[in-house]
Amino acid sequence: MKKNMLFNLFVLLVLGFFGFIVIISTQLSYSTDLTSIISTYYVENFSFTGALNIVVAILLDFRAYDTLGEILVIFVTISGISLLIGRKDDF
């Protein structure tokens, strides 16, 4: 039990140091205006897609190829689970 506690404490220290390095060296904070090139373009040109919700416009028009991949992932997962559940226990 004692050894386990020491291990957990060590893990905590290591992860804390890792987080410290990541946070200290990037120092991101909330932006005050839209700086990204691509999102500025999307905000200016979303009306070509016929949608008012820009997130949906990005999902289904500007980056619809990503959505295709996502749908494939759902497709694979459902087939995989139905395979795993229907599988006979034969070995």
């Binding site: 291990f7 957990n8 893990v11 905590l12 992860l15 804390g16 890792f18 987080g19 990541v22 946070i23 991101l28 904070s29 909330y30 932006s31 005050t32 205006d33 839209l34 990204s36 691509i38 999102s39 999307y42 905000v43 200016e44 979303f46 008012l52 919700n53 820009i54 997130v55 990005i58 999902l59 980056r63 990503d66 959505t67 991949g69 996502e70 992932v73 759902i74 694979v76 997962t77 995989g80 689970i81 795993l84 559940i85 226990d89």
Partner: protein
Amino acid sequence: MINGINIGIVLFLIGLYGIITNKNLIKIIMSIGICSNGIVLFFISIGYVKNAFSPIIDSATTNVVDPVPQALMLTMIVINLCDTAIALAITVWIYKKFGTINIEEIT
């Protein structure tokens, strides 16, 4: 210093702590879920713009938060759901085959 971005990173590390210290497979899968929630918070905070509106435009305003991370995260949430589902399905088989879900006793 305390903003959504850093809280997201910390949440990711808390999930990582859970993955390392837990031995139960279900708990490890839950910790992966915590990790992914941390990343969602991280991404959404990256796109946050102070004093801006949600990216649904019905008037002439262009003062909106960054919509790209939100769209990416909608995709990522579904993918992570699928990962979790596969993990649970395989865990059931692990339990059937080995009689345990303790990751140290699976030999």
